[in-house]
Symmetry: T
Subunit: 71 residues, 12 copies
């Protein structure tokens, strides 16, 4: 880890299928524009209900990624 | 959303299989007696252990539903 | 516990005598109208002061009870 | 306060105008069906955004009311 | 800010009109006896209900003020 | 409550006998120097152990009292 | 909501007039550079005091907005 | 205290009689196997309900004890 | 439950596959050395990211087990 | 500790040099006017930035001191 | 402060030497790309252990900076 | 990390000199009896005051270490 600096952002992913997939959806979307993604932490698990059933799971995450030097 | 008022109740669902199913069990039980269920939020994830294995996952949820006017 | 669903309500009991009695008062009042009360958890312990002395202890509880099927 | 028991429920009121009005809307809706409302406490202040402006303030409240004896 | 030391006190202001006025009432009352009031932070927003309407908003604040040297 | 302003202080009372007595000891000590004590709220319950037994219960409280005008 | 991903940022808006206006100021500033703003949540309400009066209310918000695909 | 190091463990004691006794039961059980118990802190107060009455109070504690050198 | 005393320990399990499996891995590892495991509670859900994908889910749990008498 | 009562106040100390010195500055300022200072607990660590560097560390503390009898 | 809007980001700095240096490292890295950095707040202090010794302190910070108009 | 399981314990280290040294003292004491120590997290920073000066800093840590298989 030497003296690297990390930035932590907050994302909310959703999935009609599972909380784990909601996490993966958020991470994979973030990896389209950010490099060096390193860890995540679940902040909140929520969801929407439609017709008396779970319509979507929504998971709010903190995601940490290493900043490159001088950028 | 105009000026609707929502009530938020707390439920605990359980499942021998998964945390996601424990959530679904609680929502589907609530929908037997309540209309207009709109969202949920996980408050706590717990469980019981039997014979050194997870016997049940138990998920405590807040569930919000819209109150109809004048009732 | 199989796949039962529990409802969790919040109550505040009070007693001039002790915090333990304030808990008992809330539970016993709830049992007049609810069946299958199963557990409680203390959320907050407060009280009122009168003439420089504790007038009442007030304990806010979450109380869980099992929902019967289809009701 | 003697040895009364209070029930605490959670409500979310909304208003296009202000957070204070969102609180009043929730309280006044609750008073249509519940007697002896006594206090409230703000749990969360949220809202929705539409077209880059606040569309609605939404305030989640705990509301306490006294239970009558034997009911 | 150099090496000043601040004291932080907790106050509860109330107002029949608005949460913002409840904050102002607490600050202005504190300024009658304390100098160098510098910042505040809302700890809790509560209130009392009478006749099914908000009777008073009550806002609990932390208020910081700079201590003068050697006093 | 009209527009009164309250100050909230934090006290820790202790007792070799019970947590309730630790609360009473703190309130009664505070009432020797402060008027208009109105409510308390338990912040933390701790204690010391000596020889494998509870030596003292220690309860940390917030205590609110009404400020008189202009003082 | 299908499987959209949201980013959540944290902003602090201020206003000399009211907490509600501090929220609106932060949202409207954010909408100058971000599209698809969807919801906000109040994290903290603070302020500065000058001459014994509230000089500015400052409200810290989390603001969520939908990420477009592949950007 | 010089430069001693303490270990903090978490215990749950129960009692059919009172929360204070539940604390004492946990401490006295811990003292059968651990030396140098020094302080405790209440983490959670819960309980079980049977037949509409409190069957057991259960108190979760953190308990700190001094580690001897080199063990 | 009579007057049993429970010890609560904290474990972190991980799994490349799911959060539920991370929980099961931690419980089953604990059951190799501890008897009378009774309940668990999720404290934190985290994970590591590698190549823009979730590499491991990691779940931190509190796990409670009954202490036998006099040991 | 017998049945002493402690008062807990909140202070914010600052230092251009270190967080530890910010703590010492607050304690030493408090000891100019208060006797029997006994313990402290860090509530918050903040600071100000000037020209892209830490200008001051600011540490908010709770400080406990024993009240003398009858004062 | 007039009606400025601030953005708050989260960073994790690390240092083999001290927690204070971990804070400085994060702030100085952020100042390479952001102007008007104004304050920070410590969210979490963690670290890694190697060979039974602290290898790195890691401090997670919220850092606030003023947004310029219309950007 | 594959599917390792970690145990998390809580320790309080102290030092008359600095909070960083209090952390190091706790870690180094733990490494006398535990292998595979991997990370720590600060839970609480406290201390004792003697003669109006900081006598000891005390830092409460969670410390995680990898469990070996089958032990």
């Amino acid at each position: 880890m030497s003296d690297h600096v990390y930035k932590v952002i907050e994302l909310a992913g959703s999935s009609a299928k599972s909380t784990d997939e909601a996490i993966r959806n958020a991470i994979e979307r973030a990896s389209q524009t950010l490099k060096h993604l390193d860890w995540f932490e679940v902040v909140e698990t929520r969801g929407h209900i439609d017709g008396g059933k779970v319509a979507h799971y929504q998971v709010v995450l903190k995601v940490g990624f290493r900043l490159e030097d001088g950028k």
